[in-house]
Symmetry: C2
Subunit: 270 residues, 2 copies
């Protein structure tokens, strides 16, 4: 077991034999070499995906997982290290390792990079959310492309405004694939306290894990301007986001318009 280059993780693992099964013991030329900890990471990922461990819950301890996959604790550790670096999982010393969640996380808006110019995110308090619209429709060509759907597939479309300290600051249009979000209504959105992604988790089992944003400066049209209480000459940040679940599956297209007279989009480069 110790020095076996190709390896079949097994035991309680539901799917997946070994990626490299077949060739064993040949020293060179493994076509797609995958280290053990990567395979373990993949297995843990499957369990996260399948819902074996739910957001906010603890996953088994490193020792348990090591026993389950028949590897050393260090190897499990390295797998979890990467999952932790990708924010899929959160470690808490002395307590355990927990599935990351958008709810009950002290960072309320994990993906929102807009910050008030003066004062902290904390000090400005929670946003006031207003659902403007929520309807079923059909995917246009560009929406379909972003969500990996076909044109005309059913989608859910939402428009809302976020206000801070009474000032409308963000106007968002969302498109969600119809099937996973069946049953989402304006009422359920309105009644929900907290981040939208938290609702997606608890009510629909959809966990947003990563997102891409493309940012431009634009002038709003008349309707957009009026919803944000600015003139159409006010330049706004246009933020187009595609959010992904596990496996790089796109699950949301979001087009945001941000006012930047009192706020700014903050980004850290390294």
């Amino acid at each position: 077991m110790a020095s076996n280059p190709s390896f079949s993780a097994a035991s309680a693992a539901p799917l997946s034999g070994g990626e490299n099964a077949g060739v064993v013991g040949l020293a060179t030329q493994t076509p797609a070499f995958s280290p053990l900890y990567q395979q373990i990471k993949g297995l843990i990922l499957q369990s996260l995906q399948s819902g074996e461990w739910k957001p906010g819950e603890a996953i088994p301890s490193e020792m348990d997982l090591a026993a389950r996959y028949r590897v050393s604790q260090g190897t499990v550790r390295k797998a979890i290290d990467e999952l932790s670096a990708e924010n899929l999982v959160v470690r808490r010393q002395g307590k355990g390792t927990f599935v990351a969640t958008h709810a009950e996380q002290h960072v309320q808006y994990r993906f929102l990079k807009l910050q008030p110019d003066n004062g902290s995110v904390q000090s400005e308090g929670p946003a006031q959310r207003t659902i403007i619209d929520c309807k079923r429709s059909r995917a246009s060509a560009d929406v379909a492309r972003a969500l990996s759907l076909r044109s005309g597939d059913p989608v859910l479309q939402v428009r809302r405004v976020l206000a801070f300290a009474g000032v409308p600051t963000i106007l968002e249009d969302l498109w969600l694939p119809g099937t996973p979000f069946k049953g989402l209504t304006a009422e359920r959105l309105s009644n929900y306290q907290g981040a939208m992604y938290a609702l997606f988790e608890t009510e629909f089992g959809v966990r947003m894990v990563r997102a891409d944003e493309n940012i431009r400066a634009i002038n709003p049209d008349a309707e957009q301007a009026s919803l944000l209480n600015v003139t159409p000459k006010t330049p706004l940040l246009s933020v187009e986001r595609v959010a992904y679940t596990y496996n790089d599956t796109p699950m949301e297209l979001r087009r945001g318009l941000y006012r930047t007279d009192t706020h700014h989009y903050h980004n850290v480069l390294s």
Copy 2:
């Protein structure tokens, strides 16, 4: 040595005895506990900072560093892991670990997040750089604050335009602290091929390691508009960047105006 909680890294290390020196063997209540690998990381950081290893050069092998600091290879490895994650150092299997550099790196503009809407960054070719202005001046209040200087301290001020495929796309104003950049002239800037940060490294020994950006949508004034060949009504992305060297020392304030009719600012959230 093996099981010693408080530890004095020593040997060839120039400064720094041990952070936790003094208390030894007392099991609980070390006021500021710092794991060994963090101390090693700090020592390596000092050597990077002092220029013992220059950008692009290889640092000593993990085994050598382990011997130098009298710790196991695994501990050095974990220290380097973090430095690598922070992009201060680049590992290359079979070759060694190298000091990160903005030059000779295949990513020419490491900190530039603006991308062409169509085609890749590669396909659009290198930017055409034009130095509009380069002069010594005195720090205004806001420039001084950003660079941790005092108002009136000498600074170097640069204005330039970047064009892609002949289209002026980026207008940048830079402020650099006067002392570290003594001797920087418009000519040296103009003659230099390659990223500006690469010149800072090779000519002034200043390595940019991290940066913060605050982004807004604005309308340009008449001069800015003309330099970018747009009308003053064209909304532009205003990107204010503060770039830092080691130790979170700010070394550059850069105010950029980006055209977003053909390009967009791309960001990945996770």
